[in-house]
Symmetry: C2
């Protein structure tokens, strides 16, 4: 029934295309079965009507630039191409993605007359080393990261001194609901890293890590713990440069400066069995370099679209079998379809699921998770945190 | 000596203008005495070279949009006009403000081919009901809001339940250095409001309220207290609509919902003599409506470029003389030159300094402050907070 109404609406739009500028643009750039139930994206700026998303996961853009020669959106064609907007009779540029986008959060930008700009309709999110436009395609399971009427933890900006970088550095700290009331309680800590080109704002702004934790804790699914998020691109990481990446500057900031600061200023359980490190993409790469080299600091490890542990990795790491309480590895399903991010750059692709199973057979607490129908994007990582958090600090 | 080097550099630039695109643009739009010591603005996005600011307070912009027809910046001509960029030989658009800008923070945006966009070089700040580009002209007294090597407080995002608006609302809470260590100490609270078109991020992002407090506390100039910042545009406030503004929805959120939440979840001194309300511009307007009507809640009042208290105001408010411990009123000097913001819209302009003096003569603790050479902008309000904070909670 719903389906037939959608088809009727689409037909009505096609019939009126000649007089409806937005419908006309949609007819040019989208297949005829576009469902005309577009609503403003949830991450639009206050009061902004565009961009919009429909129930099929298509996005529609509308940009005011009456004298422009060309306006393109970097989203569309399944995320691999872009959407060319066309100029409507009223001087605005409009267009709809040719197909549905994956559920979840996507970065994008505009190309206007050859220059890169943000869509003035949306909030901006730090990714690709710049503040980019963002759009949210509502996920069928969006409730787990929604702002709900449950007790909320806090996200706190702390500025901590870093002698090694001669700076006051910034971190965000999630403290769970009740942290300030339960003055006698001490909490485990997860150090959670962003990806390349992102920063310490990503896990809250794009990831909703705080809301995911609030909801898990309210449902009794996760033990309340602290999450610490700081900037992981301490030295200048360029695209493709991860193979020659020197982990030491960031390791020094994290292990020698931030962790002591957090343990001194928050009520933590300051031992390895109550400390985890995880990261997405480059943050997973960093986790794999730092955590196994610091097993007297971290006993829980998570790589989210950021590599995999083989039995060889385990065997060549002294103490791994005794000290590591959990190895969690996850990917978006579309990453595995393409084989991506399973090994270090240039190395033969490893099968991350087979690696995870080999660890399990060897008696290691190894958990492998695949986020359905998502790519190297934040819905994969929101879901990964939802799966990872309940497994932490259970011993 | 410095001056003559600057003149020589400017002359050298003029001489090479024919082959130097940036110099050429500067020569077209700026007076000949432009000092060529431009540096990236401190609020640029990471790694971005433009916009730049020179020692005279002039700003230079550079925008990549090779096919654009026109690019304009909303800053320049003393802040009242704009700067038209010109297309350089390499396809970029460049231009320098015709004169120096006032010291401090300025919002701006680009107009590209008739559309409004942000400068991709800068961070964005919420103002004018949108995330706008920002630029910082270094102030001669910038040290008081700089990130320095002193103990830092935290800025915490809290989500509090609001039955009256059927929402989980956001506030940011500054807690002073040592808040978590001094578990037996309780703190006074300042409720600090943003201006029209801004939101609860403004006082931290644009205002550096946290850094101002860290520095004042480190210097022993202010008593450590908590600052709470939430969204004050609870109902839909349109420009010019303040005269018919209904304060009740926001008053309910602030007084009946947020204050009880803060008192329950932070270690506050929960009495009127340890509670202040202040705001800038529209936030001052709100403060003047809420604080005198709730003198059993607030004993300290601050209006920052947001109105003034006359002796009539005092006399018609029951309990004012007994209960109010401080009335602080401030403006940027350029606002007083223009007479702006001294009275409610439509009313005859009051002289805010005379009002403040009349209150003082009547025995009220009335303090009036004027920020030199600043307008209705954030440097006025940063300085106002620097002057206001040391006066708070002294009885």
């Amino acid at each position: 029934m719903k389906r037939s109404i959608a088809i009727m609406l689409a037909a009505a739009t096609a019939a009126t295309a000649a007089i409806a500028p937005i419908g006309a643009a949609a007819a040019q750039t989208a297949a005829p079965e576009v469902t005309e139930d577009f609503k403003p994206s949830s991450v639009n700026q206050p009061g902004q009507e565009y961009p919009q998303v429909n129930s099929q996961g298509r996005a529609r853009f509308r940009i005011v630039a009456p004298e422009a020669q060309s306006v393109k959106v970097s989203l569309g064609l399944g995320g691999r191409g872009g959407t060319v907007l066309t100029k409507a009779a009223d001087g605005t540029w409009v267009g709809t993605t040719a197909g549905p986008l994956d559920e979840g959060f996507h970065y994008y930008h505009l190309t206007i007359d050859g220059g890169t700009f943000n869509d003035p309709g949306t909030l901006n999110f730090y990714g690709s080393t710049r503040w980019e436009s963002g759009i949210e395609i509502p996920a069928h399971d969006a409730d787990f990261y929604a702002l709900r009427d449950v007790p909320h933890g806090r996200v706190e900006q702390v500025l901590f001194p870093s002698a090694s970088t001669h700076a006051q550095r910034r971190a965000f700290v999630y403290t769970p609901p009740g942290y300030d009331r339960n003055q006698r309680e001490r909490y485990p800590v997860l150090y959670l890293q962003h990806g390349w080109g992102e920063d310490e704002t990503a896990w809250s702004n794009q990831g909703h890590a705080n809301l995911i934790m609030d909801n898990l804790i309210a449902a009794g699914k996760a033990r309340p713990f602290i999450i610490v998020m700081t900037y992981g691109m301490t030295n200048d990481v360029r695209p493709g440069g991860l193979a020659s990446f020197d982990i030491k500057p960031f390791q020094t900031v994290l292990v020698n400066e931030l962790i002591p600061y957090i343990d001194a200023n928050f009520r933590t359980l300051a031992d390895p069995r109550h400390r985890a490190m995880a990261g997405l993409s480059m943050g997973g790469f960093e986790t794999k370099l730092i955590a196994p080299a610091n097993l007297d600091t971290f006993a829980y490890i998570g790589l989210l679209s950021g590599g995999t542990f083989s039995l060889d990795d385990v065997n060549r790491t002294p103490g791994f079998r005794d000290k590591v309480k959990l190895v969690f590895v996850s990917f978006g399903s579309r990453e595995l379809d393409g084989g991506g991010m399973a090994g270090p750059p240039g190395a033969p692709r490893a099968d991350p699921r087979a690696n995870a199973e080999a660890l399990k057979r060897a008696g290691i607490n190894s958990v492998f998770y695949v986020s359905p129908n998502t790519a190297h994007e934040f819905l994969s990582w929101r879901r990964s945190l939802r799966e990872f958090a309940p497994l932490l600090f259970r011993e």
